[in-house]
Amino acid sequence: MIAALRARRPRISMPGITAIGVKELRGRMRGRRAFVSVTVYVLIVAGFTWMVGRILEDSARQQFGFNPQFQSASIGRGIFAALMFLQTLMISVLAPASTAGTISGERERQTLDLLVVTPISSVAIVVGKLLSSLTWVFVLITASIPVAALVFVYGGVAPDDVLRGYLVLFVTAIAFGALGTFFSALVRRSGAATGLTFVAVLVSTVGLSFIWVFLRASSAFQVNAAGVPTADRPAEALVYLNPFVAQVDVACGAEGGTGSWCQIIAEVTGDPSVVNQGGGVVAPVAVPLGKGGVVVNGGAPVVVNDVAPTIGGQRDRYWPRSVLVLLLLALALTAAAVQLITPTRRWRPTRPRVRRGRRTEGTL
């Protein structure tokens, strides 16, 4: 009998994920709710895009002396950046909101036990729930792609820029979704889990970035022995968790590696080419910026004005690192959530254990 049992014991990780996914999506996509939410999302994105387009067009009309083609491209880039920021903002809210109640909700409804005693693994439960919540968010993001494609009418943005922007969006959804799942597994109440998740999202976006700005401001006026401002800036890793900065880098890429978005990225990454010196004009530079590029600290900073920008000069320097860190965070949080719902786990945080003990005692 034992041998027979062993023989028919499949690794049902995938069926487990499918089971959870089918169940979750059935609930989520039932009725008009899913249809309405996608419609509302697309309407918001489209309406916003239209308004930004109007603003940029009006302001472009007031300028003169510019090449209309160039203006159109600049409007296109403006719309693209605005669209990506808006979506990053919306996804930063929607992704955690859709996952923060998944596991705590099972606990509150007292259905988690029923799930845990089935042979599906804790991994399947967490990943299945995360994926099905994310599927809904992915549907929203995907539904906005046609709106984003409108920027091609104006030009100035290449399809691969849009691709980059959407990649960052999807990763944002995964990372903040995993954050929600983690707190959902950690805390019993869905309300508390949602609250903590949003605090964590705020910390990783606004909070850490503000710390970066603070550190940058306090180091801005330090000069080295030669009287040259040191490029001693806070680590860029502090803002890796902020998907908005990654979108800034994507927007910078659309600018061809030069422009106002790139200045922000240069500020963050400490790129030597744009170090401002003595009120000089900050300008992009035509030197290759790979490793072993221009050394600033201790040497003369390179300040070059009126140099023809090299297309792609600063491209893809920052956002891939941010995306990687966000994905690693998602992985770590998912693993932690799995640990938290495995009943026979070795490691257990102290406080919940005490609480759990009392609770169980009460229901003996």
């Binding site: 034992i2 089918v22 089935t118």
Partner: protein, 322 residues
């Protein structure tokens, strides 16, 4: 009969509180085994350990030869569990609920369709197939939960207080259902603090209190093993001092272990003797001038047995000083 569920010295401790302090169970295949005890006795903890939801602090638990600690996945395949409190998903129809759990056990689509039909027939919910789960009555939800525990045709069913919150009619239905399951060859471990419920149903019981098994085995065996004798009730036409004198008379008779006056004036006698001796006691009492209006042997039931067993030991302290 082969043992299918076995626990040995099962202990679960939470910081300073001991939930169970060494539970030994031995349950043969095909039994309906009752775990009886007051609230807080450790029934739920024991069942949750067997269901792989809790890790025991020490001790062994095995189901169908698989260790609950070391092979939780194998245990989960042979086990159906119905917790004492359970919720249902919103936004789910009855058949979807069962379909979901059948998927969790990796059943293919054809098998799922067949088994959902069979189970809905079994628990008498076939006409509720398309109803939303949260719209079912408590008793129906209970039956649905039982059905969910059966999707993978488990050998062992663990039911924690399955009848709590059910009206009498639903209780009877549940009992019938469990009997039917037994004829299908399932071993059922059922916990309850409502004793009559188990008495009619169970082949064996374990009486637990304060985290220990005080007695276990067939109900009749436990009775024989533990009974100090029988309980007699005598209604004597007397009150005040004369009633007290009557009690004193009974207490002084041979084979009488105790005699006490109950609130309604009846004298309850703990009697070690057999039936002829009971007859002799009554004869002597009448001859001794006691006006006896009624004299009977208290019905022996599980409840009484339970009270006797749990009354034997002073309740074990569950708080461990550390």
């Amino acid at each position: 009969m082969t043992t299918i569920v076995r626990t040995e010295g099962l202990v679960k401790r939470y910081d300073r509180t001991v939930a169970i302090a060494g539970v030994d169970l031995d349950i043969a295949e095909g039994e309906i085994f009752g775990l009886v005890g007051p609230n807080g006795a450790g029934k739920t903890t024991t069942l949750r350990i067997l269901a792989t939801l809790l890790e025991p602090t020490s001790g062994q638990a095995e189901i169908a030869g698989w260790s609950v600690n070391r092979n939780p996945n194998e245990v989960r395949r042979v086990l159906g569990f119905m917790p004492d409190v359970f919720g249902v998903y919103d936004d789910m129809r009855v058949w979807e609920y069962l379909d979901f759990f059948a998927r969790c056990y990796g059943l293919p689509a054809a098998a799922r369709r067949r088994i959902i039909g069979d189970l809905l027939d079994l628990v008498d919910l076939a006409d509720k197939r398309e109803t939303y789960v949260q719209g079912l009555s408590r008793g129906m939800q209970q039956r649905l939960c039982l059905a969910h525990a059966l999707v993978h045709d488990p050998q062992v069913l663990l039911l924690d207080e399955p009848a709590s919150g059910l009206d009498p009619r639903a209780r009877v239905e549940l009992r019938e259902l469990l009997r039917e399951l037994r004829t299908l060859g399932k071993t059922i471990l059922i916990s309850s603090h409502i004793l009559p419920e188990l008495e009619e149903l169970c082949t064996s019981v374990a009486i637990v209190d304060s985290g220990r098994v005080l007695a276990s085995g067939r109900i009749s065996d436990i009775e024989q093993r533990l009974r100090v004798g029988s309980v007699l009730r005598a209604r004597v036409l007397a009150d005040g001092e004369t009633l007290e004198a009557a009690r004193g008379w009974f207490a002084a008779q041979p084979e009488v272990a105790s005699a006490a006056i109950l609130r309604d004036g009846t004298i309850e006698i703990g009697f070690r003797g057999d039936e002829p001796q009971t007859a002799a006691l009554l004869r002597d009492a009448v001859a001794g001038g006691l006006a006896i209006a009624s004299f009977s042997r208290a019905a022996s039931d599980l409840e009484e047995l339970f009270l006797q067993v749990t009354g034997h030991e002073e309740s074990t302290p569950s708080e461990v000083s550390s």
